[in-house]
Symmetry: C2
Amino acid sequence: MKHREPGSEHDLLFTNRVPTGDSMPRDICDRCGFIHYDNPKIVVGAVVTHGDRFLLCRRAIEPRKGYWTLPAGFMEHGETTDEGARREAREEANAEIRIRDLLAIYNIPRIAQVQMMYRAELASPEFSAGPESLEVALFSWDEIPWDQLAFPSAYWALKQFRSVMDQVVIAPFSNPEGELANSFPFR
Amino acid sequence: MKHREPGSEHDLLFTNRVPTGDSMPRDICDRCGFIHYDNPKIVVGAVVTHGDRFLLCRRAIEPRKGYWTLPAGFMEHGETTDEGARREAREEANAEIRIRDLLAIYNIPRIAQVQMMYRAELASPEFSAGPESLEVALFSWDEIPWDQLAFPSAYWALKQFRSVMDQVVIAPFSNPEGELANSFPFR
Ligand SMILES: [Zn+2]
Ligand SMILES: [Zn+2]
């Protein structure tokens, strides 16, 4: 989490100690007393299908600029998780989606993220690149640019989606284990 | 989110504007430039059973001190959601639990919370009140102190748990609608 705006008055000097009334050590700004709580952040996104094709966005921004991913991003204040997933599809792909159910929850404690990925469908066959995408396209399973995917979680979500494609009721997946966990091209 | 420690040098004076490089207005501290991102926070907890009884904790702290609830609390940095649920059971009930699967995800945008409630079992029949609990007890369904429950989400989770008790694979619930949404005694 960014503490302050670029160019504001002081540098970041934190001391790690237990704040008054707290039970855990936190990074505390030596100058202004800001407490860096560093709560995990929620990423919301969706595997979006249209018939038997999958909606992917090619990233116009870092990290992983130029690589393909699912519409997903940080949940905002004042929205629900499914509203967030719909907003991200709107922002990144100018697409209206219908959320079906929860596909997976990925925990990535190293970067303090919890990612919630839904199963969803295009509400209409209209989409185009939003400001954070270079292009947006529908791919059949075999056309998916597997070696150009931006993030492991996009890879996991697509593979896990495919494994339960015909099931109406699913328990959401977690981080994969075994081969799927280790087969992402960029790990 | 608390910005600073009590007693530190300046009062909280925020201006709501769009920070450099951002796309949304945020509360920004007039003095030190701190950006109040206000991301939704994750609460993790569990409906914990032992045989046909349910583990509940009577709260030793506000809010809702003296009322009964499920072991649950804010997810911490560096842990996964299920590790967080296990930690909360340990902290509030000195109990080791085995997570089974995800029961429900409740969105409470008014207070910017996403609550993730698991189905879990006591790993051993040992428990006692942790520092945030006045007492911890196992209740049969009919003994649950329904009119002394602390929070709607504890009520929802218990009721939704009961409705799928015999199902091995479940799709997680969301916020209830209809009667269950409106029948919590304290709403
Ligand atoms: Zn500071
Ligand atoms: Zn400040």
